[in-house]
Symmetry: C2
Subunit: 248 residues, 2 copies
């Protein structure tokens, strides 16, 4: 299949911008705090961000003292927005696919990726490419849709009680890794389901050691603001992994 | 709560022996091949098996050339059966809890555990104790009930179609690690649910690097013999992890 670039679809891009602008979006409440908790200190470090989107993370990495930050995204609309809104002297934005990192000038101390690796068809190849760009002891910190979220071949569904409260997540096809599509923001978005073991095996095969893993759930305050997030206790939305390049 | 010793309950022990004696049991078809695929060569190695049960694995480790094998199980009935049926000159059986490994004479090159760690309340303490017994570069290879199996607070349930075929697993409470009970073989069995991230964090905190992970599914031949195992593709029964003690 052709490489997905749904983010350059005008309607999808508009809907995505609206979603991320909301104050109660899942990224800001769950995913971003968990991602930052896994990052090493960035002062003086060289950072590569895969699927950088608007560039908000690249700007924060620069503001945290990173010596150099490279942001890569396939979407021209995203890169244009990043250059307009999140430029810093240390940051370079490149409009290219994270599925082919050949020619990207490394090495980097830290490679990050926020909610993009589930769009990549060949995760083992990505892991090898990232390992090739990392300094020894450097780390790859990424978030992705949780494997329980990507599992179903059909659209996501819940069992609900009479009051409409979700009582169980209808899990199917977890043990069948591969291509999936999902209705999201008015489009069919293409992505890939991988089990925990598929991710870990690919990282290990690329000589990256898994050193941390997070499946964030909302705290009491977040839950009071967004009661719908109760569902996260049945089926998390996000998985985050830190993997380190072995020294030697 | 008191330490569980359901395996010394006469009725449970009888039912368990009958289950393991069946030719189509899940352990022999799925769990054991995956466990062996993660083991290093055992020739000349010192091996500790936690929750050794009947001792069948200890005997196989000895037959594969292990220099010394220690099998530990809390159940007196199990240890008596192990000493009767699976004795070898290199094997020692100890009737004691795997939750307290103080005084066990290490070090070991390999620590194994088949379907027992989900009975242990404090997995971080177990991981530290195992790390303390391992030689540098040694490994901990264990299987446990899959986190999707241990997750529900209520008993396991499936959504089925008109023909009675399971179409989805009703997943709940994955994000709430802790104590669970389950109806099994005529008893309420006590166990602990842990997310993937709980397991990985505990191993990493004990200086054990995760180097392999398996979630076995049946092959075509097994599926032809046991069509009910189709469900494994929606919700696996087993998780297996290999973690290695860092050289340092």
């Amino acid at each position: 299949m052709a490489e997905q670039n749904v983010y350059d679809n005008a309607e999808f891009f508009h809907n995505y911008c609206a979603l991320r602008g909301k104050s109660d979006n899942y990224n800001d409440l769950l995913e971003q705090p968990a991602l930052w908790s896994l990052l090493p200190p960035l002062a003086g470090r060289r950072v590569l961000d895969l699927g950088c989107g608007f560039g908000d993370a690249c700007a924060r990495y620069a503001d945290a003292g990173a010596a150099a930050v490279v942001g890569i995204d396939l979407s021209e609309k995203m890169i244009a927005r990043a250059r307009r809104d999140h430029m810093r002297p240390q940051v370079t934005y490149l409009c290219r696919s994270m599925a082919n990192l050949e020619g990207v000038a490394g090495p980097f101390d830290v490679v990050t990726s926020s909610l993009a690796v589930h769009y990549v068809a060949d995760f083992p190849a990505l892991a090898r490419a990232v390992a090739g760009l990392l300094t020894p002891g450097g780390c790859f910190v990424f978030s992705q849709e949780h494997p329980l979220t990507t599992a179903p071949v059909a659209d996501i569904a819940w069992q609900k009680d009479a009051a409409g409260q979700a009582t169980a997540y209808l899990l199917s096809d977890y043990g069948r890794p591969g291509f999936r599509t999902e209705a999201w923001l008015g489009q069919r978005v293409e992505k890939y389901h991988r089990r925990f073991s598929d991710l870990v095996q690919a990282l290990c095969a690329a000589d990256l050691s898994v050193t941390a893993m997070e499946e964030p759930v909302p705290d009491a305050e977040t839950l009071a603001r967004c009661p719908r997030m109760e569902r996260e206790f049945h089926k998390p939305s996000f998985l985050l992994i830190r993997a380190e390049k072995r020294d030697s």
